[in-house]
Every structure is written in structure tokens, then in C-alpha cells.
Symmetry: C2
């Protein structure tokens, strides 16, 4: 047995977004219960020069979308990074999930040897499709989902490991 | 093209440990430079009831080792969770990497449909081999690598995203 590229990527993102949507909802409920301004929670960073909670959700969204775009060759659905409430972050997640679900598996499967180039302001990296998925996109996606979780934990939101690992 | 189970798991762990070893070294250097007791950094938690830096490294080690044990059917190399210095954490990583490298790919490949049962104090989960790898073990591994990174960032260690994403 072996695994198709679609199955390595899209279902993992869907699981991650499902978990993130769940723990964000607990964060919103916690703010309401404790009388904390939700905007304060959304703006929380683990350190000054790291993206806040809102940014972590946006970057997780981008990390997943780019797999569909770079491997699947589908057109990106740009999202403006203007989310300013928990409801808008949930909407961002829902739009990202809908986009991912719209990508046919045939667009991604078989792209293991495709060339993917990532360009950053400082440098660029070239990957094969499979290395891009397993060595860049998935770690990058989990980085942002975990950091969103870590920010909420740091602020005292009562979530636990199962909120991160929980299934679809 | 498709991907073998070994290629989805072991190389991703090796990349993660390489990155973790690198950013832990920067954490140790930062402590020395700033006159911070390394033990303080190792004991730092993002919140009181979350594992400290040392625990995050130990759990990343376990998450990876268990894939070799549960999918590869090889005997675990128990590690006592007694690391008390950066040097000992580096040794833990090196031992984990050596263990992972000792597992022949033939032991893991083809186990996509194997049954994997995870038992926790409260419940148990049953997975197929492929779901265990992609929906549980990899997210769990990245959770702990990211949280170790986040703790160091939170304490001001000068590391950046490339220290997390950097290759082997």
C-alpha cells in the first residue's frame, strides 16, 4: 500500500481546522465568561515580534490554501487578513475549508515530483511536490495551529491536548 | 506516484529533531549570554499546567519513537525522562534520531491498514496505520516541537521561523 498526495494534505488540514475552530470557540466563550475584551485575546502574542492569535489563524489558512494552489494548480481565493473578531476568524476558517473541499483530488494526486518554488523577501527555496508537502507545508500549518492553541492556553483558556488532536 | 509510509514519517521526524536541536542550542547560548540559569529556561511553561521546555522535547521524542514501535513493530528504547540540562536534551534527541535511523523502512512500509490502538488514562482510540501517522502522530509531534520553539520565543531567545522550518 501507498498513499496519494491528496490524502497526505487536504484531510490533515481539514482535521486541523476542525480542531482550531473548536478551540477558538472555547477562547471566545472564555472571554465572554471572564469579561475579557475578545480583541485583547485576538491581539495576544507570545512575544512582541511574533504574530498574534489572529495572525496565527490567517497563516494556517494560507499554509493550507497554498498547497491547493501550488500543487493543485487551482486559482487562489485571496483573503484580505482583515478579521477582527472570533466570528470573522471562524468565517475565515469556513471559507478556507470550503476552498480546500472544492479542490478535486485529481488536481493534487501525482504531483510528487512537481517543482514548487517558495519565494520569501530574503531568499527562495525549491522543493519537489512531496517534500514541499511533508517537509514544509505540513510543519508550517501545524506551527500556526499549535501557536494559536498555545496563545489561548497561555491566556488561561481551559483547553487541553484533545482540543488540538481531536478528530473531524 | 504515491508515497510509502516510511517516507511520510521518519524523514519528517528527522527534520523536526534537526530543527529542534538547532533552536535548543540557540536557547542554551542565549541563557549563557544573558546570565540566565539554564534550568530556568528548561522549566519554563506557557501556562502552569502545561509541560515545560524539557517535557516538550521528551514528548516529541516519544511521539516519534512510538511510530517506530507501533507501526514498525520494533522494540521501544525506553528513555527515563530525567534530562536536566540542555546537553542532556541534545543527547535525548541524538538517541531518538539514532533509534529512528535504526528502523528499516521495510518495517514501516505497507502498514497503512494495520490497527493501532492508543490508550490514555481516560479512553482509547483505534486508528488505521495511515490515520495514526497523518492524523495523530505527526500533529502530535509538531505540537511538541512548536511548543518547545514557542517557549524559547516567549523567553526572548532570538530564533525565527527558519529555525523551525529549516531543513536537514
Amino acid at each position: 500500500m501507498t498513499t496519494q498526495l491528496y490524502d497526505l494534505t487536504v484531510p490533515a488540514f481539514l482535521r486541523g481546522f476542525h480542531a482550531m475552530s473548536g478551540f477558538l470557540a472555547k477562547g471566545e466563550a472564555f472571554a465572554a465568561e471572564k469579561g475579557i475584551d475578545p480583541a485583547e485575546l485576538l491581539a495576544t502574542r507570545l512575544v512582541e515580534d511574533m504574530a498574534p492569535l489572529t495572525g496565527q489563524v490567517q497563516r494556517a489558512s494560507d499554509a493550507a490554501k497554498f498547497v491547493a494552489v501550488r500543487l493543485g494548480g487551482v486559482e487562489n481565493v485571496p483573503m484580505a487578513d482583515e478579521e477582527a473578531s472570533f466570528a470573522e476568524l471562524q468565517e475565515r476558517i469556513a471559507k478556507t475549508v470550503a476552498f480546500l473541499k472544492s479542490v478535486p483530488r485529481e488536481a493534487i494526486d501525482g504531483k510528487e515530483a512537481a517543482t514548487v518554488t517558495i519565494t520569501t523577501p530574503r531568499t527562495s527555496f525549491e522543493f519537489t511536490g512531496i517534500d514541499y508537502a511533508t517537509q514544509f507545508a505540513l510543519p508550517n500549518f501545524y506551527f500556526h495551529v499549535t501557536t494559536a492553541y498555545a496563545i489561548l492556553r497561555h491566556k488561561g483558556v481551559p483547553i487541553g491536548k484533545m482540543d488540538f488532536l481531536g478528530g473531524i
